[in-house]
């Protein structure tokens, strides 16, 4: 919302420049990662992180309207399986099937969200949880196409090499584009209306915001990107099994979003990076990953209510306060 931005203090201009510089440094760092980390395993982790970042960010987009989409991992699975089946059995190019998967996930999302759009937090959570379980059951039962419980193997890949470097750059580009699009939606009137619906349905309907229209729109956008992430995962990972998309994956995604910071766009990005990448990277810690996550979760709940993203701001405020009190003495 342009005027929202214009309405903010003009003093934020300088902060804007430092932000641009920080993002520039971050993107340069991301571009050089394949040079720093030669190990295919580490690159594999980075690639999976990128996929989960899209999934978590799209989940947060739906959550801004006050709904908790517990079927989100199932939608990731839907995208993955659609892309896998289309590229393996139908023979489409993986590049095409990837985007078809995104549109299929979006279509299914729109289809289920019409009846469920007026449900709020917990009711929507229950309904979507069951829908997600049902979706996975359906995938399992289509044994001929999907391989059932054993999963599907030998999915055509996006690139014809054993190296992971092209995947990394390709997924980095797709992730950045997805995040930019999601960000544009978030700061536009659509995003503001979703937040308004979340704060008060009564008030937002009294000024003419259609709850159904905007919630369906949110689910459509969120499911499109999670479907895309699923397709990327399928055509990168070569094998799929239903257990990679069950409801515990959704819970992990919710944890990424809430620990990173629900109220901030970069929340899910930081949450995924901290909670997925770091425990996996220090492979000695891998078995302790749930404990580390629990510790971070407690820390966030008790000290940083707005998630890990709020830490720099809090430190800044603390530093400033300290400086001003020492001056007054």
């Amino acid at each position: 919302m342009g005027s929202m931005i214009a309405a903010r203090d003009s003093s934020s201009r300088r902060k804007n420049y430092t932000q641009i510089i920080l993002y520039g440094i971050l993107i340069c760092f991301l571009l050089f990662i394949p040079l720093f980390f030669q190990s295919p395993y580490v690159l594999h982790l980075f690639i999976l992180t990128l996929v989960y970042i899209i999934a978590a960010a799209s989940m947060r987009f739906i959550m801004t309207s006050g709904q908790i989409p517990l079927a989100h991992a199932a939608f990731l699975g839907l995208g993955a399986y659609v892309s896998a089946v289309l590229s393996k059995h139908v023979g489409l190019s993986p590049w095409l099937s990837l985007f078809i998967a995104a549109f299929v996930a979006m279509g299914v999302g729109i289809f289920i969200s019409f009846p469920f759009a007026r449900l709020k937090a917990f009711y929507y959570a229950m309904v979507s949880l069951f829908f997600g379980v049902g979706l996975l059951q359906a995938i399992e039962s289509l044994g001929k196409l999907t391989g059932g419980l054993a999963g599907i193997t030998a999915i055509p890949t996006l690139f014809n090499t054993a190296s992971k470097v092209p995947y990394y750059y390709c997924f980095l580009a797709l992730t950045l584009v997805s995040l930019v699009i999601l960000y544009r939606f978030e700061v536009s009137r659509i995003g503001w209306n979703l937040k308004a619906i979340d704060q008060s349905y009564l008030v937002s309907s009294s000024v003419g915001i259609s709850e159904v229209k905007y919630r369906v729109l949110a689910v459509a956008i969120g499911c499109f990107f999670v479907g895309l992430a699923g397709g990327m995962y399928a055509n990168y990972n070569v094998t799929l099994s239903p257990s990679s998309f069950d409801s515990s994956v959704t819970l992990w995604m919710i944890i990424y979003v809430t620990i990173g910071g629900m109220n901030n766009f970069s929340g899910p990005i930081i949450g995924t990076a901290v909670l997925f990448l770091i425990p996996q990277y220090f492979s000695g810690l891998k078995q302790y990953a749930p404990f580390i996550s629990a510790a971070i979760l407690f820390l966030v709940i008790f000290m940083f209510r707005n998630g890990l993203v709020s830490i720099p701001g809090l430190l800044m405020a603390f530093y400033k306060r300290k400086k001003s009190t020492s001056k007054s003495r």
Binding site: S3, R184, W192, Q199, S200, S206, V207
Partner: protein, 255 residues
């Protein structure tokens, strides 16, 4: 005539909250709706704005039947309202509250919104200007960048009015606009309501406080879901039935 209500009835299970009310509202007037607690005033507002569907009866706004429409459709037609409680978006600033309420906007579709085109930016600049003007009108300009939830009760109520004005209503429903305000705030609010009325907005207001009757052209008294009296503010003040409804029949009203 801007609003015509025929035989409006609402039953909640065995309880009849509103029973067969007929009201006609003329263009540009300020209509007061008074009655004791539980008389059905707020239910009446919720019926007009589509928050709850009526059991029976018809609501005709500018010659169109709006019975059974969804709240956002009714808002788009130009009926704005405020609420008794919870009247705002708590986590937005005062200004953002008003900007968010500008939903009826010309020449900018979602593609414009997405790509931040000049059309969209021009439109948003217009909305910003209008919002600031509304905040000036209701006297909240000085707190525009503060969070709505941190504002005192009186400001939150006024913000409700500002938000309702943002949809450019031709009919404005105010649910207890001065309840819980201090005398200063009451004067300011009454002033703001007068100014709004002078811009040609028709107003219906629900209130307990008899002070607000001064600005009404006509007053309707409701008790037990039924219309008991209708007339000018002066007539209402002297009507024995109204006095009985407010003070109870056990008292000697002559003293």
């Amino acid at each position: 005539m801007i609003l015509e209500i025929n035989g409006l009835t609402k039953n909640f299970g065995g309880l009849t909250a509103v029973s067969g009310i007929d009201i006609k509202v003329n263009d540009g007037e300020v209509l007061g709706l008074i009655g004791p607690n539980g008389a059905g005033k707020s239910t009446f507002f919720n019926l007009i704005t589509g928050v709850i569907p009526p059991t029976k009866g018809k609501i005709i706004f500018k010659g169109k039947d709006i019975t059974g429409k969804r709240p956002h459709e009714i808002a788009e037609l130009g009926i704005g309202r405020t609420f008794q409680l919870n009247p705002l978006f708590p986590n937005f600033t005062v200004l953002q509250n008003v900007i968010s309420s500008f939903q009826i906007r010309p020449c900018s579709n979602w593609l414009d919104t997405f790509f931040n085109t000049p059309v969209y930016r021009k439109n948003e600049a217009y909305i910003l200007e209008q919002s600031l003007e509304i905040l000036n009108l209701v006297g909240l300009y000085k707190v525009k960048d503060e969070l709505a939830k941190n504002q005192p009760h009186g400001y939150q109520k006024m913000l409700g009015v500002a938000r309702a004005l943002a949809i450019k209503p031709s009919l404005l429903l105010l649910d207890e606009p001065i309840a819980g305000m201090n005398p200063d705030e009451i004067d300011n609010t009454i002033e703001a309501i007068k100014r709004t009325s002078q811009r040609g907005v028709t107003i219906i207001l629900v209130e307990h406080n008899m002070k607000i009757l001064e600005i009404c052209n006509r007053v309707v008294v409701i008790n037990f879901g039924q219309k008991i009296v209708e007339g000018s503010p002066q007539e209402i003040k002297e009507n024995p039935e109204v006095i009985r409804a407010y003070l109870g029949s056990g008292h000697d009203t002559k003293h």
